[in-house]
Symmetry: C2
Subunit: 319 residues, 2 copies
């Protein structure tokens, strides 16, 4: 909900002359679009404008942002040799533009709302690196995982280290909360999720824990795993819109915060219906240990007033 994006005319105005990549890599522009949802919609936190694929890019895969097609890598990773050939990443150096953006945003926010950093989780990054682009069936990624689990594990190990370093570097640069997105967790069956995704969360959370900064873990499409996700040490679990709030709370237990989970499509409803749904969602999650949010990314053609109606409903409830 707090994300910048194409639903804001002010964002589209900037993107008319600047590519996604240019905005992301230019701290002043990244700062400007990061602040837009705070200033224009009134959300209560700012989330860094960036992309989960900055780590694979820093590993040397060559990222192309083709309009209409989505991101695409020049090279793919489909063997142990490809994994061995990946460039080691030092986020403070190779992703210095992210840290510069975070420092600038913190200064500009001046304490108004907290700043959230983020990274893609290893499985999601690995599958993007293997496929080379967006995919519906994850055929190459899942074939590697089944046919050569050692190569997959080597890739995930590298990514787990890089993501941990990256989140810690973001925290040192000013992030006050960090979010770990396993956007493609839903491409894994339970056995593979437990073997190739869950252990990476544990390792990354262990790495971030000593900073004392809260971590939000979002394993999209793996809501069946909430009891196990609640044991990772994450402070908050992101909840997607496929599950009812009360059921999410039942599965996760009371020891962890929950964030979510309005279906972004609900912002196509009239404002009074948005308010009704939002209130029912909040009631379902229970008032404590809960962060109201959407259950996935906002649609580009969402009316800005509908986003504002959602924020107003959340704030009205809190007030």
């Amino acid at each position: 909900m707090r994300q910048a994006g194409r639903y804001l005319p002010e964002y589209r105005a900037i993107r008319k002359t600047r590519s996604f990549h240019e905005v992301m890599r230019t701290p002043e522009l990244a700062c400007e679009v990061t602040l837009q949802p705070v200033d224009l919609v009134g959300v209560d936190a700012a989330i860094l404008f960036s992309d989960i694929l900055v780590i694979p890019e820093a590993m040397g895969l060559g990222l192309e942002m083709e309009s209409g097609v989505g991101p695409r890598f020049d090279r793919t990773v489909r063997s142990a040799a490809d994994v061995a050939g990946l460039k080691p990443v030092d986020p403070t150096v190779d992703l210095g533009y992210v840290m510069d953006a975070l420092r600038l945003i913190r200064r500009e926010l001046d304490g108004r709302v907290p700043l959230i950093g983020f990274a893609g989780a290893p499985w999601t990054l690995a599958s993007y690196m293997i496929e080379g682009q967006g995919t519906k069936d994850f055929r190459h990624a899942k074939r590697l995982l089944m046919a050569d689990p050692a190569a997959m594990t080597a890739l995930l190990d590298k990514l787990t280290d890089a993501v941990g370093d990256f989140l810690v570097a973001q925290i040192e640069a000013g992030a006050q909360v960090v979010q770990l997105f396993d956007s493609w967790a839903d491409a894994l069956a339970p056995a593979e999720f437990r073997r190739f995704a869950l252990p990476t969360y544990h390792r990354i959370i262990e790495r971030v824990k000593p900073t004392g900064v809260p971590l939000i873990l979002f394993a999209r499409g793996a809501m069946w795993a909430l009891p196990e996700l609640a044991q990772t040490g994450a402070d908050v679990l992101g909840i997607d819109w496929h599950i009812e709030p009360a059921e999410a709370r039942r599965l996760a237990g009371d020891g962890v915060g929950l964030q979510g989970n309005l279906d972004p499509a609900a912002l196509y409803l009239p404002p009074d219906e948005i308010r009704r749904r939002t209130e029912s969602m909040i009631a379902g999650f229970g008032a404590t240990g809960y962060i109201a949010n959407l259950g996935h990314g906002i649609f580009q053609d969402t009316p800005v007033d509908s986003a504002r109606a959602f924020v107003a409903a959340v704030k009205g409830h809190a007030g």
Copy 2:
């Protein structure tokens, strides 16, 4: 698992000179590729070679099968007026080629294995008709559903009638089991699933019930709804690979058959691992009221011997 498809060289040989559409609409060719998995892989039932989009096509949308892009409609349905303009469908006339294929396949099978017919479920068909092509976010379909639920309901009503008629016509032409695929059930949050998908299952099952032919209902991605799916009157529920077999059985109860749910990617494993997984899956579901199958469509680059290893493991278990 029983589906024809690109993993069979004998299928690819036919497709070298014939389009998907041509094979589907020519009873002799549809018969030939329907029988391939029975003859070449040894599966214990034949499933009609066809496509879920034949109903929208018969309603006048103009279907293009573009290679690499997937199916695409010339027209989309995005308003009450568009819904009103749809051609009424009489499956025995407008989809006569399907019935001809079924009659021919029954004759050629000569009792060797049962013949399964199928149809796409109304929500999946509706969303395809609204989007006009494959989609990742179902933005147009979900906007219509939220912003104009009356138009969506009118569209679903027409489709529910047509799908019911179509399945009954398939049964009259020789289908001995029918399957209802809601391939995109996972695009609906629980509230919308209950309002726009579940009632269509009830109505279609009521329509098919008097024929006495068993119906398999597959609501992909809605495994959370198994307790409600078990109350639809379906004889068997398809189980996708996102859920563990024992959990699926627990949610569905003992009053309904279950079919599934090996991750198609598991066919990239070595044969002994395929056998081990298959046996563990069968043990998880429990031996009664169960049909071993994959949990989704087979990958096109699946080794044929791996498909055979799966079938052998299932038959070995039964034997």
